[in-house]
Symmetry: C2
Subunit: 309 residues, 2 copies
């Protein structure tokens, strides 16, 4: 194999009660990448279409991730990465994670799969941390493994793939305002009340149980976040109204996607997910803020190979 | 039915990463209770054998729990409760929960089962809170429902019964020192570091996933508690040594049972659970502290009916 074309999807992290540990993979929004072997060793960024990303291989999350992989697994050939960037950087749906995970996935395929998808997470992290300033696998894990993932330990990268209730659909709305991950982190407190923490882990436990038992009502009841959302939502215009609109339209739950500004909702069935999207839109239209809207089933496989030669 | 004899088991709450939310039910230690209908309305405590408990119906957790049930469901007859108290009060394995849950369970049977086991939890709480000063269902839930239980919300009593990996055995050692729940609560801080909270809910999520997938290794990795154990363990002599001994003997994990002083361990298989118990014993013998030791499979049904007439 000399060239591979892939679809590397967007993802939602910090899923309500699962701050820093729980994420899931989207299916209808993502980047396309063509990675080709080259005769000269090293990694270069070829063409970039769609959104803008750096062309310097030491500043681009995709190439930095690949360089990290090549440190562990040296190769005589080099790699050129052409990127069709569809996920807007800073939108809160794992733009850098898609780049980093996609690049190491593609290179791993071209090298004859020396690593499992799970093993690729640590290389992708090297790229991801360049963009976010933090060292978190909660977007990378769902992109590489698909479905819902739980990061038990970010230190040891102990990551669990969770089951997906079959009728679950996501709605994600991206208000086009700028919000840096680093600012969303800065607004958080270093300590939290013990009683709120207990509620949070009770909810996360219940959320995970609901994924195994397809209990949509329990899933809905457990989608609470009293720890992070009260702070971060301040940075997102009309957050309360958009969330309320989603819930009134039948969403199981709704919250901040990643560190925002995107807002996600989960619904039972595609029709409700669409209706939820429509009512979220209405709120943003009142403010005259531009937005993107995505309706997606949960992507159970993660990155997909489109073609290779 | 005029009389019923039941076995109402001990339980382990605050299971490592699941402080205030996760508990499980034991099988080899518990109280026996005979509850009989009487002609005079009201509730009385009849004979008490084994450990000492108050005979005043307004001070006994069993009768207080029953009085709470009778407020919602009045009865023309009264009830007499004979208690063979085998679980030592203050041992950390749900002594008051067994009394409260057992009494409401038995009375509910005598009344023709107007309530489900789940509905009985709220009445039992009235009794339990008398003893512990706190309003927590994490011991009551496993006693009434059996197996592992998760209290998603203590406010709404949203409680989930979880599956049990078939080879799981518990070892519980009770060092006979006095430790009041109220003191164990007082030693805790009102706030906790956010990064420790994240580790805790990552571990709880993984623990619950492991229960559904019978993944004993994941269960073992997730049995960490960096939030509560570091504080409460100070109150338990030789805690570190006993826990280390359990882990060295092959336990999957070990921690404080309830608010202590009992220490529990979980193991894969009865033989390992016995070996773990032996090595925990050795540590306490060095200190010349008396103890009780219990080896038990996880009791999947909770309270059991022994006979009725």
């Amino acid at each position: 194999m000399n060239q591979i074309k892939i679809f590397t999807p967007a993802s939602v992290a910090n899923v309500s009660c699962g701050f820093d540990v729980l994420g899931f993979c989207l299916d209808t929004i993502g980047d396309f990448m063509i990675v080709s072997k080259t005769d000269t060793p090293g990694v270069q960024i070829g063409s970039v279409t769609g959104e803008k990303v750096p062309k310097d291989p030491l500043k681009n999350v995709a190439s930095v991730a690949v360089l990290s992989l090549l440190e562990t697994h040296p190769s005589k050939c080099g790699f050129k990465i052409d990127i069709d960037k569809q996920i807007k950087p800073g939108s809160g749906i794992g733009s850098s994670a898609a780049s980093a995970a996609g690049a190491v996935f593609a290179v791993n395929e071209l090298l004859g799969k020396p690593f499992t998808r799970n093993e690729l997470i640590k290389f992708a992290l090297a790229g991801e941390s360049l963009a976010s300033g933090a060292y978190h696998a909660d977007n990378l894990a769902p992109v590489l493994l698909g479905g819902f993932t739980l990061v038990r330990s970010n230190k040891t990268l102990d990551i669990i793939k969770l089951p997906i209730p079959p009728e679950l659909f996501a709605t994600v709305i991206h208000p086009k305002i700028e919000l840096k991950t680093i600012h969303s982190r800065a607004i958080l407190k270093d300590t939290i009340p013990l009683n709120k923490a207990i509620e949070q882990w009770g909810n996360l436990g219940a959320f995970i149980s609901a994924l195994y038992t397809n209990d949509y009502e329990l899933l809905s009841r457990s989608m609470e976040d009293k720890v992070i959302e009260p702070y971060r939502s301040i940075l997102i215009p009309k957050f309360k109204e958009i969330k309320s609109a989603a819930l009134s339209s039948g969403a199981l739950g709704s919250g901040i996607s990643g560190s925002g500004p995107s807002i996600y909702a989960l619904s039972k069935g595609k029709e409700i997910a669409k209706k939820v999207g429509f009512s979220m839109e209405l709120e943003l239209k009142k403010l005259d803020i531009e937005f993107d809207l995505h309706i997606s089933k949960i992507n159970h496989e993660g990155i997909k190979i489109i073609s290779h030669s």
